[in-house]
Symmetry: C2
Subunit: 332 residues, 2 copies
């Protein structure tokens, strides 16, 4: 079917295209009878404004670029829901791009984003690549970074304080005199792993102890699980802290295979809660972040930047809450 344009509507309604344009955009100056006439023509013809042409003429597209780490949809699904809900409310379209772990493709993505003339960009800070942001900044495109604290002109960020979260968990143990607290590296999230380590260091510092319980998973290991099975068959620890649900489960599974009971012989804590933590047995104690809100708040921030609304805080830190379950003991 041939697309019907504003000209067709104008002709049908016997008015000029300017008038039609006014009607579409809800300009109040149009007289009611004319408005109605145009409205009818639009209905009759099934006219739908061409967003491209509008974008070209207006120099804005009501489109927001969204950059997420590939293979991360489980992890960020809830965040996306928040993001998309808010985007829908404000009638923004989302252009989705993924970055692949290891590849330095953020630059390519930004390039594409630039060409599509998105009004703004929301980036999951997989690996923090500040240089790429600068290109966007150069064009005055607002950015919201999710997952790490970044600020600058037209840059806002929404993040969770992993240092504080890990500090809280590690602190429980440090204060209880339990020193043998291990943090398991998340190879896919080096940034976060570092933050976790920092939190633990801080917690143990407070009780006057040095912390060196961070364990790195050798790069030649196929999976966290296979590594742990070997590792736990030799070493014993009181507590292991993992980043994601699957890693926490891997610890539990490996422990079991090594004849260890959770939580009796080893306690396990997950730093990023998901529904699977409470479906697993034993249920895994975890830090929960308000995932949906992370997305919703990020998008809201973006809309504010786009409408030049005042923003009181451009770096928003979202709280967390620790839920003790069955993988920890003594009320922890």
């Amino acid at each position: 079917m041939k697309r019907v344009t504003i000209y067709d509507v104008a002709k049908e309604a016997n008015v000029s295209l300017a008038t039609v344009s006014r009607v579409i955009n809800g300009s109040s100056v149009v007289k009611e009878p004319t408005r109605k006439k145009v409205q009818q023509a639009i209905e009759k013809l099934g006219y739908k404004p061409n967003a491209l042409a509008q974008g070209l003429a207006l120099q804005k597209t009501t489109t927001i670029g969204l950059v997420v780490p590939e293979a991360g949809f489980n992890y960020i699904g809830q965040i996306l829901n928040g993001l998309l809900d808010v985007a829908k409310i404000y009638h923004y379209s989302i252009i989705l791009h993924t970055t692949t772990a290891g590849l330095n493709d953020l630059n390519d993505v930004v390039e594409t984003l630039l060409k599509s003339h998105v009004d703004g960009v929301i980036i999951f800070n997989d690996k923090s690549e500040l240089e790429s942001y600068q290109l966007l900044q150069k064009y005055g495109i607002p950015i919201v970074v999710i997952g790490s604290k970044v600020s600058g002109d037209k840059i806002a960020s929404v993040y969770m304080d992993m240092v504080a979260a890990t500090y809280q968990v590690a602190s429980m143990y440090a204060k209880a005199g339990i020193k043998d607290v291990i943090i398991l590296e998340d190879r896919r999230n080096p940034q976060i792993s570092l933050a976790m380590k920092e939190g633990a260091v801080k917690a143990f510092e407070e009780v006057g102890k040095a912390y060196n319980g961070f364990i790195r998973i050798p790069s030649n290991c196929r999976s966290t699980f296979t590594f742990l099975k070997e590792y736990l068959s030799a070493k014993r620890h009181s507590v292991m802290i993992a980043h994601r649900d699957s890693q926490a489960m891997a610890i539990c599974n490996a422990a079991r295979e090594c004849g260890l009971k959770v939580p009796e012989d080893i306690e396990v804590v997950c730093m990023y809660d998901s529904k699977y933590n409470s479906m697993y047995r034993p249920q895994i104690s975890a830090i929960a972040f308000p995932s949906y809100d992370i997305g919703a708040v990020s998008m809201r921030l973006m809309t504010k930047m786009l409408k030049d609304e005042p923003i009181d805080n451009k770096t928003i830190e979202l709280g967390f809450i620790y839920t003790p379950r069955q993988s920890t003991k003594n009320g922890r």
Copy 2:
């Protein structure tokens, strides 16, 4: 920074904009020296073609609309990865839209898609709403439907045969003389629940038995788990089949709370495998579909339709494979 346009490049290179356009589009008629001159100007100015203007002029956007059910990112994450990888290869951009369960918002989404002049649309067939497809068809926009067999002009589909998959599972039991096989409804996927039921009916028909083991979860039940805890405290079954990982886990958890052992007292099978099935204990036996391929194949189909390449099969059925694990017994 002011966006540099084709005019700027033309001026810089002392040629007409037509020539610049030819260079960008790799037209072979441009003489090498001119080409080089233009190329340099492009580099120097950092020119990036405006996709909107190109879209307007060409009447195509190299953008594909993607419609997914909200709250489904865990479920479809892997599919998305396949989709996006292929899209990247063919340089298509993705506009992401979600539909909310219950709401009849596919029409709105299609409306938006139409306005953004996407070249094609890929829809996850959450609830099958054929009427919405027709609107797209009217405009000659190719559609790929994921998850159910649909065909028509410019419509292709990629789906998994849930009937056959469930048939295979149910058949194992029917043939072993185990009649007490329950299929648990997935309230979020009525289509799939029906297909599962159909497969079981077929399997039991073959051994001359009627099948009526489909159980519906009352709409007032908060969660599958709470329902099952109550349900299993009264009723006993040999086998329960669930659609997703979380539902299969809910069965296992509820069974345990009712003093039942998996698989000794009750066997559990999941119809849509995920990594969590093998992380749970007991590991849950499951039917695995090639998720990544579903996405990749769908996108590839779309590119073919867009380039008018010949397509030998517009309804692609993807195979599945059953992996017995610890939640079933006797080699099943």
